[in-house]
Amino acid sequence: MDSSIVTSLYGEFAPLAPMIILMIAALLMPAVYYATKLRDAVTLVAVAAIALSMFFNILMMIDGYQGDYVGVFVYDAFAGVMILLFQIVALLTAMVSLSSSETTRAHYGAFNSLLLAATVGMMFVATANDLITIFLGVELVSISSYALVAMKRKDPRAAEAAVKYVIIGGLSTALTVYGLSMLYGVTGTTNIPEIAAALSTQDFSWAFGIALITMIAGYGFKIAAVPFHMWAPDVYEGAATPVSMFLGTGSKKVGFVALFKIFIVIFVAASTTAAFATEEVQYIFAIIAAITMTLGNVVAISQNNIKRMLAYSSIAQAGYILIVMAVMSEYALASGMFHMFTHVFMKGGAFLVVGALISVGIGEKISDYRGLAKRAPFIAFAMLLFLFALAGIPPLAGFTSKLFLFSSAIYDGGLGGGVMTQWIWLAFIAVLNSAISLFYYTRVVKAMLIEKGETTERIKVPKTFTAAISICVVFVILLGIYPQLIMDFCADAASALFGI
């Protein structure tokens, strides 16, 4: 089997194939719900659609399929890898939403519809080759997510989170649009390769500088980089846990994809001229990265609510991934993408554990987790793996991906440059942060495995949660000892993006 199935089925729309399936499913969701009134049926259709879309995408990835639709959407190795990531996130979220006690009962069709629509938006951005498409994709994700957050009704925290998210999101959108329009003004086109070509013949202008700054700020909100991070802990805490997971592991990556697409493509084309102010932009990102990871980790130490702690640790992880934007090398991009993948399983897994436990009536405080090992051994063991992976303990996935990512600050991936000294300080800060992070992760480990709880009554976690958590456990171990499973694709993806 190869990608010829996809091309024969979809013809000229083949590059959009994974998206089309999900779009149709998204539109069908409410109908399925009103026809059957069965939540199981809705989830089944959603999961089936995502699985089919994932199947097509994997065929296309393995085949090395490349194609574009009217020059606006481009499916290449980069798009394939990122689409796979978004599909995994959507799959996990759809699975667990079924049995989570936090997701809405009334509008379950709409919930799934929004979830799939947001996923389509993410894929839009991954394939986008045009500023307008990126913008539309990001907006599709954002608007669907506002609704997803607000859908946990009857909880004032969710309402507060949703309002905060909308306002901050609006601000971010405004900044981004401003930046994108300045960029259009400077170059006269919205097509990214053409922008790159146009810039390589220009000198640096203030209009372009403002465009860069506003775009960094706009997407900085999306990825929750310091100082644009304030919304993240409130939103993650307020939203239903499956939605928090979706936002933390999926929607955040959209911002990164947009940053990669816009900045790296321009960077590669324009690095030889003065137009891009290469060094300055790299330093801006390096400083943001250092501050983001440090603040995220330090503030996480004092959190007693696990969802907030995970939110701050997500901020720290964004800081790690921003190393890519500072180093701007092919190897760094591949490592960053790989880290995003492992992050889905580690952080996603941790959120799933929290969601599963909320569903059986255990609170969100770290102290609520006391004695968990006796009550739910598998869940406690899984959480131990996720947290140790996040802290970067070998041989788990988080260690391997951090090793690649941090080493990318000093190693160019075998291109002949030898040891780079420019970003050694960034690698140092990242490694030190890893040490800090161990401190707050072990607090949870200690509560779960070492401290005694008030009761030793067994907990029965819903089956879909167990299944989703098992998937994460398998990949947290597998990607730790066999990273080339995904890393090879990431390396191809990075060279595709740098090759434009």
């Binding site: 303990i393 070998p394 000093i410 040490a435 080339q484």
Partner: protein
């Protein structure tokens, strides 16, 4: 060796890793009703591992057993699964095999969740064996960290009253040190790659190390040295050790002092000295100073300790300081006896911690001021304590004597070569202090008037498994004391070739 193994065992080194791993899983499965059989499962697996590690000593050509398979090859990075055993690591592998089995035997009476307890011991053995056999920096680092997690749980599940604090302190302290070491590893691996594919194997890095400038060597030596030395430990980064030891259960302390501290000095020799000779020259004086500090401070602190186990912990710091000064000589004899002292201290500290642990268990307290005159009540324990103390202070005829003799000899040579012969006085002061605190502790706890401060009706002498474990370790101490060449024979060739590459003979 006087006797050559007449047959080959396929995949011997992998077996040394896999057996404890399988054993750990099998022991863990012995929960519930079957948990009283957990010790037999653990004993069987660690026993077979020990037999294999002993057989390794009789292998005529160790190179036959090298194993190398590609593992991770992606995006300009190559990591491999390479296991080797050479003159430096063979004694450590042997020590690990022996001590893991003996500490399993010693803990045979453990009845609180024994399946977890023994599984943790076996899991630790995987990491320890891995560290000593790995010949790839990625594998080495993974194994290095693998040793941490079982120890963390060992202390926090089975430790004393302050176990939470001690466990987290141990974990964070040594993890931070390993991260610093990881940066050092990045530097040597990517530096050696010189722009090509970054190969993490020892061999490739050694081949590429010719290009290291002396500034680079000095800087990176510092990073790696810090990472390793915290594990040894060095003053002032030693404070995790007394806490961890005091709170850890006896088997944990035995492995911590016996084998885990040696990971630090092993790393310094294996990585820092082998790879960065110019860095070693630049850091030599500092190493000597750090070694003297640890040696004197450790011994001095021992005098003040009231807890028998804490005293033994500080004496470990002092003895590891001797390893430090010995390897800091960068000479043939220095390295040879540094490794020999690692081996000797591994055996002796095992006896000391078993004795200290048994005192706590069988008498009810380890506080020296509360003890007294107990030799009549617990004669076997007192005899082993005496033997352990005498071995540790370097009684001729026991293994510690040769180690200390060799170290002082090599250090004497070094002080002459730098024209500061008075430095040798520190060694003598440390020896005197050592003899002093041991004899004083012995006198206060076992001899003299029978104490009235503790309830004497419940105390009992050593149980049979404890006697077996202690007896076997003491027998080894005597064997290698009477016949040191049995161990030195392995190290000689390695030490002289390393000294040659360091430029000092």
């Amino acid at each position: 060796m006087f006797f050559d193994l007449p047959f080959e065992i396929p995949y011997l080194l992998t077996l040394l890793l896999v057996l404890p791993l399988v054993g750990a899983v099998a022991t863990l499965a012995m929960g519930g009703e079957r948990q009283k059989y957990a010790k037999y499962v653990a004993g069987a697996f660690s026993g077979i591992t020990m037999v294999l590690s002993i057989m390794l000593l009789f292998v005529p050509d160790l190179a036959v057993y090298n194993e190398s398979y590609p593992w991770i090859e992606t995006a300009g990075i190559r990591m491999s699964y390479i296991l080797t055993v050479d003159g430096l690591s063979i004694l450590m592998v042997f020590l690990t095999g022996i001590l893991v089995f003996l500490s399993t035997v010693f803990s045979a009476r453990e009845h609180d969740r024994p399946h977890y307890f023994f599984a943790l011991i076996l899991a630790m053995e995987v990491g320890l064996m891995g560290v000593y056999m790995a010949a790839d920096y990625f594998l080495f680092y993974v194994m290095w960290e693998v040793t941490l997690i079982p120890m963390y749980f060992m202390i926090s599940w089975f430790g004393g009253p302050r176990r939470h604090y001690a466990a987290i302190k141990f974990f964070i302290y040594t993890h931070v040190a390993s991260l610093v070491m990881l940066i050092g590893i990045f530097a040597i691996v990517f530096g050696a790659a010189g722009g090509g594919i970054a190969d993490f194997s020892f061999e490739a890095v050694l081949a590429g190390s010719a290009a290291f400038s002396s500034t680079f060597q000095t800087l990176v030596f510092g990073l790696l040295f810090f990472g390793f030395a915290v594990k040894m430990p060095i003053v002032p980064f030693h404070t995790w050790l007394p806490d961890a030891h005091t709170e850890a259960p006896t088997a944990g302390s035995v492995l911590l002092a016996g084998v885990m501290l040696k990971m630090g000095s092993y790393g310094i020799i294996r990585v820092c000295l082998e790879l960065l000779p110019e860095g070693a020259q630049a850091w030599q004086t500092t190493m000597v100073f750090i070694g003297i500090l640890a040696m004197i401070y450790g011994a001095y602190a021992c005098i003040a300790q009231k807890d028998l186990k804490k005293m033994v912990a500080f004496s470990s710091i002092s003895h590891m300081g001797m390893v430090m000064i010995s390897m800091a000589c960068l000479s043939d004899i220095g390295i040879q006896f540094a490794v020999f002292q690692m081996f000797a201290h591994g055996l002796i500290s095992a006896v000391l911690f078993m004795v200290a642990g048994a005192t706590g268990h069988n008498i009810g307290t380890r506080e020296i001021p509360l003890l007294g005159g107990l030799a009549g009540k617990v004669p076997v324990l007192a005899a082993f304590m005496m033997f352990g103390f005498l071995a540790s202070l370097g009684l001729p005829g026991l293994v510690g004597f040769w180690a200390e003799f060799g170290i002082i000899f090599s250090f004497y040579e070094y002080t002459i070569s730098i024209d500061m012969i008075w430095l040798i006085a520190f060694c003598l002061i440390s020896l005197l202090l050592t003899a002093g605190y041991y004899l004083w502790a012995m006198q206060r706890s076992m001899f003299g008037r029978l104490t009235e401060k503790i309830d004497l009706s419940h105390i009992h002498d050593l149980s049979r498994p404890e006697v077996i474990a202690l007896g076997a370790t003491c027998a080894l101490i005597a064997l290698f004391g009477l016949w040191p060449d049995l161990a030195l024979g392995f190290i000689k060739e390695y030490a002289s070739s390393l000294a040659l590459s360091l430029g000092v003979v």
